[in-house]
Symmetry: C2
Subunit: 150 residues, 2 copies
């Protein structure tokens, strides 16, 4: 069953299919844990700014989030309207802007994290945490390779 060529290709296909379904299901759980109007991608941006530090340009955030700068412009507009971030011109680059978290943004993240953890805790059992921990290393290798060769 492991003939080279077509068979291997189908295995790759199946792998990406499983990954896609897991992503969809986990995103759905996350979405239900967030207040109305806050999309998982919005939460992801705030989370990234907390973990990696704010004061970054929209384009750098877009690259980290794997979305286009168009999408980032739109998402940042939403987050700014909600008062979770502030966007100001970059004093060192007339073209650029800098994104900073507000206190409301940090507070929102804390509350959301608690909420999400609780939901995940309801669904994910120790057995599955173990699987995740075991797979992480390989996933990171794959992700980096795909990221560098797109």
């Amino acid at each position: 069953m492991s003939k080279p060529g077509e068979a291997d290709g189908l295995e790759v296909f199946g792998f990406f299919n499983e990954v896609g379904i897991i992503n969809q299901l986990s995103t759905a759980i996350l979405a239900k844990s967030l207040p109305d109007g806050v999309h998982p991608s919005h939460f992801s941006i705030i989370n990234h700014l907390v973990r990696m530090g704010d004061g970054k340009s929209p384009i750098r955030i877009a690259a980290a989030m794997q979305v286009t700068k168009n999408t980032m412009t739109h998402s940042l507009k939403v987050l700014e309207e909600r008062g979770f971030i502030s966007v100001e011109p970059d004093p060192d680059d007339g073209r650029g802007k800098l994104v900073r978290l507000t206190e409301a943004g940090r507070a929102f993240r804390e509350a959301a994290i608690r909420n999400v953890m609780a939901r995940f805790g309801d669904v994910i059992e120790p057995e599955h945490r173990a699987i995740m921990a075991r797979l992480m290393g390989d996933l990171v290798v794959l992700r980096k390779h795909l990221d560098e060769n797109r």
Copy 2:
């Protein structure tokens, strides 16, 4: 570093994050391999009908694809306009419909598969195929658990 509670939660979070990025990157590769106007989700529907057999109702396909029936109505409309499927009333259920693949749909799938395989072949090396094969079992366990507990 492996204290129970918050730390474990963050590991779960990180896992889903990696999965999300891999999914996004692989979907992007797939999208580039398909002709204009054919979305990865459309391809996925055709692929599912070939593998699992056609003559299924939209709602069953929607469940299998992990999308709402709204989305399926829309996607099927696109596929029907392109001549890849035919949608007809279910003779046994006045509410239902049955989706069947056309010859054009099957031919499209064959061509698309070849195209996608070639793209994946350019990016994915034996080392990474090995990783995928190794992870598949665990991923299936996770996917099934999430699917049953959503």
